[in-house]
């Protein structure tokens, strides 16, 4: 039996140059300018979780990404990392989608792609950070979902056991495939790109689907299909505060211990 895995991947502005992103004071949006798109960090953990399964079982890993045509580079990178094929959902009609419209579009693509056993998502995206897309995909597909998965304990057959973060600890969850899992950073350490992987990716296919291909009404995608809207954005002014401790060594140590205790560090 082949384990069919979908890994949902988002192309996000490169966090290393994210400080160049400025909020447009008029539209309250984030013009992306020419900031390069990279794989959302948590999604690389989702992909690695799938790749770990590939080492043990016969799998078909499909990357699913919704974004502008340039996001194809991110899909190609995922193929170089070891995924088998890629699907890029790209259409101007998809622009401005909130988590709900995004999840709906992704769910439709998953249905169109065929049978699926596991859908892996990063727990959140670095630019949206709603944590809703994974659970909403599960809702649209009518599948169980476990969020914030930190470890896959049992993955043989259709009955899995996972550990998922929960209020400072974790919960052990039994689930039956097919299911949607959103993962945290703790689940694994993603592997680096390999040169031979880049070469192997040459022969792997990336399919592009637009709204028509997915057969979705125009009012269910993008801005039109989004029940939530960003109405305002503000910059956070974060500052470091410096306190220079005065007095004798004993006094300074006592004050330092007090500060650490007050901060909950001790």
């Amino acid at each position: 039996m082949i384990l069919n895995i979908i890994v949902c991947v988002k192309a996000v502005p490169d966090p290393r140059v994210a400080d160049k992103l400025k909020i447009d004071p008029v539209t309250k949006s984030l013009p992306r300018l020419d900031i390069p798109l990279v794989i959302n960090s948590l999604d690389s953990h989702a992909l690695e979780a799938a790749l770990q399964l590939k080492k043990k079982y016969e799998t078909q890993i499909t990357i699913l990404c919704m974004g502008p045509p340039l996001a194809g580079n991110v899909v190609r990178e995922c193929l170089a990392l070891g995924a088998d094929k890629g699907i890029l959902l790209t259409d101007r009609a998809f622009a401005g989608a909130d988590a709900f419209a995004t999840a709906y579009t992704l769910a439709k693509a998953i249905e169109k792609n065929g049978p699926v056993d596991v859908v892996f998502c990063g727990m959140a995206s670095s630019d949206g950070a709603t944590e809703w897309v994974g659970p909403e995909i599960a809702t649209f597909l009518g599948l169980p979902v476990v969020t914030m998965v930190r470890e896959i304990v049992e993955d043989q057959g259709l009955d899995w056991i996972v550990n998922a973060d929960f209020q400072g600890g974790y919960r052990k969850v039994k689930l039956k495939l097919p299911a949607v899992l959103t993962v945290t950073r703790k689940i694994n350490q993603p592997k680096a790109l390999s040169f031979s992987g880049i070469i192997k990716a040459r022969s792997k296919e990336i399919t592009e689907w637009n709204r028509e291909k997915l057969d979705i009404p125009a009012d269910r995608v993008g801005l039109k299909g989004s029940p939530t809207h960003v109405t305002d954005m503000t910059d956070l002014d974060s500052r470091r505060e410096v306190e220079i401790l005065e007095g004798s060594l004993q006094e300074k140590v006592e004050r330092l211990v007090q500060i650490l205790c007050d901060a909950g560090a001790v």
Binding site: N73, E77, A80, A192, L193, F195, I198, A201
Partner: protein, 378 residues
Amino acid sequence: MIDFTFTEEQELFRKAAREFAETKIAPQVQNMEKTNRGWDEVVKELAEAEMFAVTIPVEYGGLGMGYVARMIATEEIARISVATAMMYQVFGLGFEPFIKFGTEEQKKKYLPKFATGEQLATVAVTEPSGGSDPKGCSTRYKKMNGSYILNGRKCFITNSHIADAQVILAVDEENPEAFTTFIVEKGMEGFKPTHEEHKVGMRGCNTGEIEMKNVSVPAENVIGGEGKGLKVAMACIGDVGRGGMVGIAMGLQQACLEAAVKFSNERILYNKPISNLQTIQNKIAEMKIDLEAGRLLGYRAAAMQDKGGRTSNEFAVAKYFTTEAVQKAAKMAVDIHGGYGCMEEFPVTRYLRDSFVVGPSAGTSDIMKVIIARWALS
């Protein structure tokens, strides 16, 4: 029309090379600087990252990615560690005689092991009397009972102590016009690496001397054919050795520029970052101009190389330009750092030392001008 863009695959390759350099090589730099050692660790990392396989053809276990890819890899490694990039580029130089001039048996025997890093290679041409005039070579060979007996000494050889196979240029004892290149393997009787150099920069990059005393080399270890040694040595050094230095110079220029930009944005003077001062901007602009121009020269030559042509002259121009530029860039980066530029905690001090070594490696700027003038006058 000329297309100046990298392919999607080359961009991905740069990303992989950069991630590799930043995560696997950067942690080694401090130790390399401190001990003038550490090559075992970086060689292991280079091998695990498939770096050695880049130019080796697929049929011999390599990746066959070509010379633009090699330049990208060299540039990204040099941005983090010039010492590592120097060893890496000379390993590639060492593979080249096998790729371009090796017999089928030699290719099958050596290249798969080079591709995985199981064996390492270098080329040894330079002697105490110099390296840019290989005809002045005094390492001698004579034929005896179907083998060749080598005697002589080579110096300033990168990877001298760690290469398993060295391609050595020697002159026929009986015919001063006949030069031949031989594969000399570690462990052959009478062959040994001797003195290790302590360079002003590139600390941790293995450089030293080798000595041959009556080394008996079997006939199957002649590479490129008897009497064809100059062609082998010059083609490899001119196309691959120089190309490697261009990649190193560009990576180091990039590092200088990044350090200068970072420091000048953080250092406050007159209540503003010093990057607001026109005099600092002037330096940064010069560094950027040189880097952009050097990339055009270097990658153009590498792209020509990928098409199969000889590129020694084009690389002489690129090598002259980029290795001069990197010495300027390192000096300017140090100047921008002011007093901090004299403190070893700041990497610009290393960049300055490294830039001095980049200059003469694979031929000084003066020699490059000799070559370029010959090209122009021909």
